[in-house]
């Protein structure tokens, strides 16, 4: 089944309860986040690769009730469902991470389906060259107008500094994409070098490192309109 865009609650209820044994993926996106454009392109490709599974996309802001059911606080957000239960969730602006996760989900599903002679396929992961990594970091840091690289997720920060940063962004009603560096050590180590900045959280506006918590706090003390100003530049 090709990728299907869900536009109403009714549709969502019907589609999500049909064919319970099929692996379903829900993809939440938002128009304003241009990291989503890249993610949706990639998502579409994946849906063509796996025609036996179902793929849905949902505009998170146009469908607040559906977003609320799944407690969506950031986009892009992926939810994997089978037999009417959520088997995995992923919040990531990195299309590659989605694809890797999707493959893992399929592997774990087929493993539990035939329970026997499944061979693991993790030997197909390739080493990333430094150039590829830098290209990926460039894309990631510019994935949304405001990108936060943090420890943990906005709903579950794993460090006090990251927690404070999320608090500040929320308080100023700044929409932001985020990346959990604890989930990807290559990005974590690579970004320190890439941006010549040793610690996290790191906040990027329009692809440029603005700073860590201290700088953001200080900038806001000096200019309460700091975020609006930086985004306009």
């Amino acid at each position: 089944m090709p990728l299907f865009e869900i536009t109403s609650n009714k549709q969502f209820t019907e589609l999500s309860s049909a064919n319970p044994s099929t692996l379903k993926t829900l993809f939440f996106y938002a128009d304003w986040a241009h990291n989503c454009a890249q993610a949706i392109e990639n998502y579409k490709k994946t849906s063509e690769q796996y025609p036996e599974n179902e793929f849905f996309s949902i505009d998170a802001e146009a469908n607040p009730e559906i977003s609320e059911i799944f407690d969506i606080s950031a986009v892009p957000y992926y939810i994997f469902i089978k037999e009417s239960s959520i088997i995995k969730e992923l919040s990531s602006a990195d299309p590659q991470e989605f694809l890797n996760t999707y493959k893992q989900v399929i592997a774990s599903q087929s493993a539990s389906d035939n329970k026997s002679t499944s061979k693991s396929s993790d030997d197909e992961e390739e080493e990333e060259t430094e150039e590829q990594l830098n290209e990926r970091l460039k894309q990631l840091t510019a994935a949304a107008p405001v990108m936060l690289f943090m420890k943990g997720t906005p709903s579950e920060p794993k460090c006090g500094f990251s927690r404070q940063m999320v608090g500040i962004l929320r308080e100023h009603q700044v929409r932001f994409g985020f990346f959990d560096i604890l989930k990807d050590d290559t990005v974590r180590q690579g970004l320190k070098k890439f941006s010549d900045w040793p610690t996290f959280p790191q906040l990027y506006i329009n692809g440029e490192l603005v700073g860590g918590l201290d700088i953001i706090k200080e900038s806001l003390e000096e200019d309460p309109e700091f975020f609006t100003q930086s985004l306009a530049n």
Partner: protein, 86 residues
């Protein structure tokens, strides 16, 4: 291995040389030597953005920062510092 505020100050002094004006370094770790809040006042920061200033401090303390767990820094020029205290 732990680090003291005095060591950080010495390291900064050694590198800023004649640009060294004052530092205020506070160990906020209750003694484990891994959490610091650091204020550096120097005219070397004139014309630098906040990001550049912080990078500069990070660079001066590169070896120490690999050990320190939590580090926060602020930087002022002498003029900014005197305005702040008024």
């Amino acid at each position: 291995m732990s680090i003291t505020a005095e060591e950080l100050d010495a390291k900064i002094k050694e590198q800023l040389k004649e640009d060294y004006y004052q530092t205020i370094i506070e160990d906020t770790s209750n003694g484990c030597g891994l959490n610091f809040e650091c204020i550096v006042i120097s005219d070397i920061f004139k014309g630098m953005t906040k990001l550049a200033r912080a990078r500069f401090i990070n660079k001066m303390l590169k070896d120490e920062l690999e050990i320190i767990h939590a580090f926060s820094s602020k930087s002022y020029t002498i003029e900014e510092w005197s305005n702040k205290r008024v």
